[in-house]
């Protein structure tokens, strides 16, 4: 159980996660990258900006 860096909510992590995997916060939906596993630590994953032409 780790805090989401975006909204502060607790994120329940699957136990077999590896460093580099992506999970989303189930409160705010932000994609979080697993930085470390023991103890678990998360950071906002690099985002693919939606590219609208215009």
């Amino acid at each position: 159980m780790t805090a989401c860096t975006e909204c502060g909510a607790d994120v329940v992590l699957p136990d077999d996660l590896e460093v580099g995997e992506i999970v989303d916060c189930d409160t705010c939906g932000t994609e979080l990258e697993v930085i470390e596993t023991a103890p678990p630590s998360l950071d906002r994953a690099p985002e693919l900006a939606e590219d609208w032409g215009e």
Partner: protein, 357 residues
């Protein structure tokens, strides 16, 4: 199709009788749908003058499995709860009669939403039954849950007002609206106009529009102001959907909050609300509130974003205007008034994928 059986456990076993005035309309049809699936209600009568004696399914094809014919509103019997979904002005005309027939009137029109006769003079064409205004409780449970237990005259909120108020409430409670400039830009579907639309709502004219239909001076400003103590600059656009109201609020608070501040405010206001989901960013296709996600449900999606360059907070609110914005809100309020479980009869999921419900 066999009639659907449901047990009444969510309401503690008891079943109340309910009738619906204006049952051939869009909001009235939704009341019938929700009550038919509600364990605590049994529908007694559904009125329509035009379709009296015809089956409910002849107007609402989704309800063909109900064994129910429209009755004339003049033939209403006594009932536990009377839901009314007639146009503005009808409820104030019949309110005495109705209150004689039932202990609980839930009115979906604007007739009992405002607190005082003077507001009706200002925003509408006055009021013909102002004595009942004091008895009325505004339904939006996120705002007035505490007053709804045992209420005997419930005024269900306007759909655009509901979306706007829900989008602003966390900021209001966090004190962020004090002295703030607020612009509300709303996009609505065609069911807001009701079943009796005119030429502008024919399919060829109404399809594909982004049509400013209430550029300024919309009557729902009155409800919003009453709820939040704040005058907002409101503009509504008709867009190409049938169900749905989406309110984008642009707020310029005295001081710009951080995203964390806003998450805290939203969690404070909506953390325990059964029908409100905060959707604010995240990943995937659906990052902010969208009306099509909540179509057919009593859910509201509310979200926000911060614009530090311009000192602005933007909030987004998406509801189904005929459910959370009217019939669902009314049933939710009735659940609270009768002491039923709050979510009884209102636990439908939305659809995915879905086009333009």
């Amino acid at each position: 199709m066999a009639a659907t059986e449901r047990d009444a456990s969510a309401s503690g076993g008891e079943t109340a009788t309910a009738s619906v005035v204006g049952a051939s309309g869009f909001a009235g049809g939704e009341l019938l749908r929700l009550l038919a699936g509600h364990p605590g209600f049994e529908v007694a009568q559904a009125t329509s003058r035009e379709h009296a004696n015809r089956t409910v399914g002849s107007v609402h094809p989704n309800l063909r499995s109900l064994d129910l014919r429209f009755a004339d509103p003049g033939d209403l019997d006594a009932v536990d709860v009377l839901f009314a979904a007639a146009p503005h002005g009808v409820a104030m005309e019949y309110i005495e009669e109705w209150r004689d027939l039932t202990d609980t009137v839930v009115d979906l029109s604007a007739d009992f939403r405002l607190d005082s006769e003077s507001q009706y003079d200002e925003w509408y064409d006055g009021h013909s039954a102002p004595d009942h205004l004091d008895d009325a409780v505004y339904a939006l449970p996120e705002l007035s849950r505490g007053d709804l237990a045992g209420a005997d005259l419930i005024a269900s909120g306007g759909c655009n007002a509901t979306a706007t108020i829900l989008g602003l409430l966390p900021l209001h409670e966090a004190g962020l609206l004090e002295g703030a400039q607020v612009v509300v830009d709303v996009k609505v579907g065609s069911s807001e106009g009701g079943a009796g639309g005119g030429p502008a709502s024919s399919h060829p004219e109404r399809s594909g529009v982004v049509r400013p239909y209430a550029p300024t001076g919309h009557r729902h400003e009155a409800e919003i102001e009453q709820a939040l103590g704040l005058s907002v600059s409101f503009t509504a656009h008709a867009v190409d959907m049938v169900r749905g109201a989406s309110a984008t609020c642009h707020i310029f608070p005295a001081e710009t909050p951080s995203k964390g501040d806003l998450w805290a405010a939203f969690r404070e206001t909506y953390g325990d609300e059964p029908f409100v989901e905060t959707v604010a960013g995240g990943s995937g296709t659906y990052r902010y509130p969208e009306p099509k996600v909540v179509a057919g449900t009593n859910d509201a999606e509310i979200g926000f974003e911060v614009d530090p360059e311009n000192g602005r907070v933007v909030t987004f609110a998406a509801i189904d205007n005929v459910v959370k914005g009217s019939a669902g809100q009314a049933v939710h309020a009735a659940n609270l008034a009768l002491g039923y479980e709050e979510t009884a009869g209102l636990d439908q999921f939305g659809l995915h994928p879905v086009g333009s419900p």
